[in-house]
Symmetry: C2
Subunit: 587 residues, 2 copies
């Protein structure tokens, strides 16, 4: 049972038969065709030689087949993780240098180790730190930066930098290098891909092609652009007219690599590896869960951490780069009919064959074609609609999203995520630091108690019953102190304060100290503190504390018990002062 | 009204009369006597010349009288803030150098500006990040470090470092410098202060002294130790036998100073200033609120930020150092009968007079005496009882406290606070990331719904009603997705899922996206999603979203409405399958 949990392949391999084999082979063929240009392009985006992208699409896929729980997730290099890789290792080495390639291996190993450890420690919940607005703002901003960074390849000029401003300045300075043949190829491919993406599927369907086949053919458009522009470059010798091409790629099996380097580099890459792990995991789990649900299947997020982690470790030992589950490829894999993770292993075989036999043909592939492929792919990540919807729904979520976008574009990807996460946390703490609370009174003739500001209820000038609508913990402990102290100081004849705790699931040590402080302060004012409706688990804890003995009042089972006890023990004078408040104008 | 809020002095000065004048003067006299040795000692602890402590006890007190809302808070140099000052500026300058003194001024100005800005922006809630276990662990650890750092003055040797280990190593290496006359003075004062603190009050009371007077006399013991050891050093020429003394202090008014330096220093000190501000504010507000409550008064935390901030700014312009409201001095001020903040201004006059006329007498004051005063004062901060109580009450609070203590002792004060705050936040998110939720069923014959695991209730195999006992936000959004997906995947004939939202006060953008994902996934499984008991404000927001149209099911006012609608619309076949679950063994 334990082995099956950590090796999910044992759950499906024993039942593997002819039917899923055929489906998986077909899906693998389509994903391979899609993955060849993508893997080359994302390696380039990360500043790495193109073959690194191919290597990262072989061993990691086989390993994910063993350890992953999603039946249809397509693992490999993806755009956002490649951008983060470039930003991280660009700080410590020059792109193209051997230190740069070595740093990518270290990053993949660190990221893989972090994911595996998180999985073993069942720390998948850490991904919750990344709220939806932060991740969606981050992906939109990343898409814009990636598109901007690829523009230089379309123009055939040089450019560098990891922020929009730095990229723009650097490209503007080099605009005199503009190469017209490169521009012609780049713009043609952009136009071709845009048109096929937008209209080809509809056209094919109107010509009688089945919807699914039309979809698959549309997704294969990039490989057509690759084939045509590669042939044109070779046939017309465009590489001698300044068109940059991929060039010779070593063919053969992926190399065995051993990530190494001094401990300083490992330390410098740690934060980047952590952020890459979490962003990659969140992306991967989202698409994995969505696809699984369509077939009433489930994925196990903690085992996914192990699956993605081992895939990254495999990548680092076979000349690769950080990988994760990609959105678009996984959808294609799913729609092409993949039934088991075996489709991933078959894809790896496909990429392996490509690495062995097709690399000579790739030598004439123009860089501009790859850049156009990337631009069209990432512009679908840019989602202004979500920004607008978030603005309408919640200003606080919007501000976290906006901070993420602005800092990502203007400072960098790591700072962007950290800013967004910090702001979401601060806003959350701010919200829960002022929990809803209400002074309640008795609905006449009943055992019910309602907000005195909203209902016509009985109250007693000597007794305040305060209902708190949230768990009591460090973020709101002081607010509780302030609220109770203000109520007590503002109502001089007060004798009793009752805190009604029906909504309190937890009282942490900070809130306990606040209750002790409230108890002592009320005592100094000559007022008694009582509790009511304390839940079982909360009461169990309180019983272990000195507070329970120091409490000047009692703990009542219900608010009504408290009302009866504290209200009827008052003298006749008080009874007469009792009054019914009028409902206020608030709803 | 607005002016009175920002200048609280206007609230009490117009009614100021003879009676409070006499009380305030008496309290100021006693606090002055206590503050003279303390201000010298805490300046020394911060690595600053002794007169800086005196300067920091003049202008800041006058300014706090104008802007502070506590009637009895005694502002000035305090132990923990002085330790944090030493740690912060010790990183960028050599103690005793003019850069070091200049850095203290910058730190006070930065800290003051941060406090004022927090006050104006009403950001007092940021102090909630510091949970009680973290602050109490931090103060205990700080007390231990301070005591260790002062031991070198008792022994008459040199030593440096800001962690227990570094201090210990450094002192062990210099133990050959041991000076016997210094040791004799240090140990005598330690013993004297310990004995008076422990038994003098009791002795005086048993001799017939009134309790309050006995208390005041006990608190004045340090000034007696100062007087005696200073006289002895002068009379026997101990300063020529290796006893380090305070030496010449410039007498006269505090200097006017203008904090300056390159922007690098300001940036380096920013984080330290922020932490000093927050720690100082939390300390100050706690004691302020406790004392105010004893007289049924109130303080305004946001105005306190302005009061403490302006006091620090005043300190930076008059040759001082970071200040805050001190615990022990405030209690003395309160018990000595201070009635208004005027007592603080009178204390400032007292310290001013001391600076003008008493500094020649202080020249022979042994450093060992000041060190003994500090050690006795800070050992009362070390509170192992709280550590034990926190262990018993909550393991998660205890782990945050322990992390704070260990990192503070082993790495440094800033790292200690940051570690504690990060861990409390992570633990809080972990807890709320798995909100309590229950599948509920109908209590037969009623409109009530209860947990199916705890009660004998009616259920329907086609209908699951899930009650969520927490607001839905980014930390638990994915948990909700996983929970609902798991329930739906595990119950094949399921047609309807109802999420009962009576405990949901907020649905943030992340949770909204999760609800959309749940809705879509259930739809793919052929299951309909409904909501019930959505609160008014939550509903108002949902109405603005596309989710409300995409929702495959309905929104019911009550769980019972949902049960009736979804249950009765089922066919007869289902009706028969309905069953009553047995109560489980759980309570």
């Amino acid at each position: 049972m334990q082995i099956r949990r950590y090796l999910p392949i044992l759950q499906w391999l024993p039942h593997y038969g002819r039917k899923p084999l055929v489906s998986d082979l077909l899906a693998a063929l389509i994903v391979t065709v899609m993955l060849i240009p993508q893997s080359l392009a994302y390696a380039m985006l990360a500043g790495l030689p193109p073959e690194v992208g191919l290597y990262a699409s072989i061993a990691p896929l086989v390993i994910y087949t063993l350890f992953g729980t999603s039946r249809t997730l397509a693992v490999g290099p993806v755009a956002v993780v490649s951008l983060m890789t470039a930003a991280a290792i660009g700080n410590i080495a020059t792109p193209g240098s051997s230190e740069y390639i070595a740093a990518a291996l270290i990053l993949a190993l660190l990221s893989g180790a972090i994911l595996v450890l998180m999985g073993l420690a069942r720390l998948g919940f850490l991904a919750n730190f990344l709220s939806h607005p932060v991740i969606s703002g981050f992906i939109t901003a990343s898409g814009l930066i990636i598109a901007a960074s690829q523009t230089k390849h379309i123009l055939g000029i040089e450019g560098s930098g990891h922020t929009l401003i730095a990229l723009g300045q650097s490209m503007a300075a080099n605009i005199n290098q503009l190469n017209l043949p490169t521009l012609a190829i780049g713009v043609s491919v952009l136009a071709f891909l845009y048109v096929t993406r937008r209209w080809l599927k509809r056209l094919l369907i109107s010509l009688g092609t089945p919807a699914r086949a039309a979809d698959m053919l549309t997704k294969a458009a990039p490989i057509l652009a690759v084939a045509i522009t590669t042939y044109a470059t070779w046939a017309f010798g465009l590489n001698h007219q300044g068109v940059a091409v991929v060039g010779d790629i070593p063919s053969g099996f992926p190399p065995l690599t051993l990530p190494g380097g001094d401990s300083g580099i490992w330390q410098e890459l740690f934060l980047a590896a952590l952020l890459i792990s979490i962003v990659g995991f969140v992306e991967s789990v989202s698409v994995g869960q969505t696809l699984a649900a369509k077939r009433r299947q489930q994925i196990d997020p903690n085992q996914e951490l192990i699956g993605l982690g081992t895939a990254n470790i495999a990548s680092s030992f076979t000349g690769g780069m950080p990988v994760t589950g990609g959105f678009s490829r996984s959808v294609v894999n799913f729609e092409a009919g993949a039934e088991t993770p075996a489709a991933g292993a078959f894809t790896a075989v496909g990429i392996m064959l490509a690495t062995l036999f097709f690399t000579p043909f790739i030598a004439y592939l123009p860089i501009a074609t790859l850049a156009a492929t990337i631009i069209i792919a990432v512009l679908s990540l840019v989602d202004f609609g979500t920004i607008q919807r978030t603005w309408q729904y919640s200003r606080s979520d919007f501000s976290a999203m906006l901070a993420t976008i602005i800092v990502t574009l203007g400072v960098g990807v790591e700072s962007g995520i950290i800013a967004g996460v910090s702001l979401s946390l601060a806003l959350h703490l701010y919200r829960t630091s002022r929990p809803h609370s209400a002074v309640v009174g008795r609905v006449p003739g009943s055992e019910h108690f309602r907000n005195v500001k909203r209902h016509a209820v009985e109250t007693d000038p000597h007794l305040v019953i305060l209902r708190i609508d949230e768990s009591l913990y460090f973020a709101n402990a002081r607010y509780l102190e302030n609220t109770v102290t203000a109520i007590a100081a503002g109502q001089p004849p007060l004798r009793h304060v009752v805190i009604a705790c029906q909504a309190v699931n937890v009282i942490d040590a900070s809130a306990l100290e606040s209750l002790e402080a409230i108890n002592a302060r009320l005592h100094d004012m000559g007022t008694t503190l009582h509790l009511a409706e304390v839940k079982g688990p909360v009461m169990d804890r309180l019983k272990k504390t000195a507070f329970i003995n120091e409490l000047t009042g009692q703990i009542f089972l219900s608010t009504y018990d408290a009302w009866q006890a504290l209200h009827t023990t008052d003298d006749h004078n008080t009874q007469k002062q009792r009054y019914v408040t009028q409902p206020s104008s608030s709803p």
